[in-house]
């Protein structure tokens, strides 16, 4: 049984005043704490030239490139806190990704970071920058990077809401010569984009296709994709349950 309550205005005035003051104090404190947190973020420093890093690698360029990529990947975690990707200067970030690609050509890691990690930003301008990087670097080695371009295409459609960009990226995939070995569905990606699938359905379709066509050989990435697939199926299931309630 619900107990009846006295009206707010009947409470003692000092108690009401203290309540309002403490509420304002909490809000002000929270606001300044957030500002402090934002300013305590250590910004990315510009990278040196790839040639300098190659010298520093002492002959282990591939390993050094991977270690730099892992260091970059950890940049958004500082002093035990995760900082929003929106705080990262994407121009510098792309400089870093370009430098790492030049230090160890033939590595997938920078483009993987770009498509799987740095597309998590909520800022459309940053998203465009990172998609531009993927599109540009795809030309270095289409055989190695076609999956990243396919992912970029889905992100352009569903996250950025730019169907023209998504279709441009998909057509770039389709235009690749026959010597670039990729599954049929990747070349027909444009039709998948034009189909009325939502973001979750598109992502599930791509991951399933990637896993079924054995396009992913790396066990870490297969495990990652399998986990992602289960997660997306769960989300899709939940999203379909909501209207039924």
């Amino acid at each position: 049984m619900r107990r009846s309550e006295r009206p707010m205005l009947s409470l003692p005035r000092p108690l009401l005043l203290a309540f309002v003051l403490l509420l304002v104090a909490q809000a002000v404190h929270h606001h300044f704490a957030r500002v402090r947190l934002d300013t305590s973020y250590r910004r990315l420093s510009p990278p040196f030239s790839a040639q300098i890093y190659r010298g520093m690698a002492l002959g282990s360029e591939q390993l050094f490139g991977y270690l730099l990529a892992i260091r970059l990947q950890l940049h958004d975690n500082q002093v035990g806190r995760h900082f929003s990707y929106q705080l990262i200067d994407y121009r510098l970030l792309i400089d870093w990704l370009d430098t790492i690609t030049e230090i160890s050509p033939g590595t997938e890691y920078p483009l993987l970071l770009a498509s799987r990690v740095y597309t998590s930003t909520g800022d459309p301008a940053q998203l465009r920058q990172i998609l531009g990087f993927i599109e540009r670097r795809f030309d270095d080695d289409p055989q190695l990077h076609w999956r990243r371009l396919a992912e970029a295409s889905v992100i352009a459609k569903h996250k950025l809401g730019d169907l023209d960009l998504a279709l441009r990226l998909a057509r770039k995939l389709a235009r690749q010569p026959a010597s670039v070995d990729m599954p049929r569905w990747a070349r027909d990606f444009e039709f998948l984009l034009l189909a009325e699938l939502n973001e979750l359905e598109s992502a599930i379709a791509i991951i399933q296709a990637l896993l079924q066509t054995e396009s992913v050989n790396d066990p870490d990435e297969r495990r990652f994709l399998q986990e992602k697939l289960s997660e997306l199926r769960q989300k899709l299931f939940e999203s379909r349950q909501v209207p039924a309630k």
Binding site: Q51, G55, L58, Q62, L63, S104, E108, Y109, D220, E221
Partner: protein, 259 residues
């Protein structure tokens, strides 16, 4: 003569082993495995190759330093305890000391490399493991021989270690130096100073080991002909090791010891 050299080698080898070699080796291996596990947790893809390469490189540099310190401290102790004066009163030629030290270095490097073979094989497979162990053995031999030359000439551990590491670093950077020299043709102002500098570095490059003398870490990431890489490294190290031994002999024969 051979039996005297072998007896001297056994004596010197016992001296090296008694310096807590196995404890230090165990600590280094444990550090490599722990830091490798940390890297493995962070890598999104290709973690097997990244960890294998990381552990291999970490052990390469730490074992190089360990081998160098072992050789330098053993010879420095011989200087301090007037061991050379005592040895020269025996029917021993000076070259036998260098030969015994060479055998000590070969055995020490083998001892250091055996656990690396097991560890790298575990992470990256037996083929890469065998390649890396053999290539690392050659690299450690080279550094230890450089260390032997440095300590025989300079007689002080800090100086010898600094000298050896400087040569090692210069050799590792030889690719970059060559590239800079090639670029300097276009950027040089043509002055006598810049030309002298170019000539100096060009000459230096001739007397330090080249990139091919070192284990190639990129084999962890890309398919490579391991046998060719190893054969090329063996040839470079063999030529340079013989050169270093010759310099050691010249330097050691020139030294005056009080009888």
């Amino acid at each position: 003569m051979t039996s005297q050299t072998i007896a001297l080698f056994r004596y010197l080898m016992l001296g090296i082993i008694s310096r807590r070699l196995f404890v230090l080796l165990a600590v280094l291996l444990l550090t490599a495995v722990l830091s490798g596990s940390f890297i493995q947790q962070l890598a999104i893809i290709n973690s097997g190759a990244i960890v294998g390469a990381f552990i291999a490189d970490l052990l390469r540099y730490s074992l190089a330093l360990l081998a160098l310190l072992m050789v330098a401290s053993a010879v420095a102790e011989d200087f301090e305890s007037s061991q050379f004066e005592r040895l020269l009163t025996m029917p021993l030629a000076r070259w036998q000391y260098i030969a015994a030290q060479f055998m000590v270095i070969a055995c020490l490097c083998l001892l250091l490399v055996l656990p690396v073979l097991l560890l790298v094989s575990l992470y990256s497979g037996p083929v890469i493991g065998i390649y890396w162990a053999a290539a690392l053995w050659l690299e450690l031999m080279l550094i230890s021989l450089l260390g032997l030359l440095a300590i025989l000439s300079l007689e002080k551990i800090p100086l010898a270690v600094f000298f050896t590491l400087a040569i090692y670093l210069l050799a590792k950077l030889s690719g970059l130096i060559s590239e800079m020299l090639a670029q300097s043709v276009y950027l040089s102002d043509g002055s006598a100073a810049s030309r002298a500098l170019e000539i100096f570095f060009s000459v230096i490059l001739y007397v330090i080991p080249g990139n091919s003398s070192f284990a190639q870490n990129d084999v962890f990431f890309e398919a490579a002909n391991l046998f060719t890489a190893l054969a090329s490294q063996f040839l470079s190290v063999a030529v340079y090791a013989l050169f270093l031994l010759a310099v050691c002999l010249v330097d050691f024969y020139r030294k005056e010891f009080d009888h």
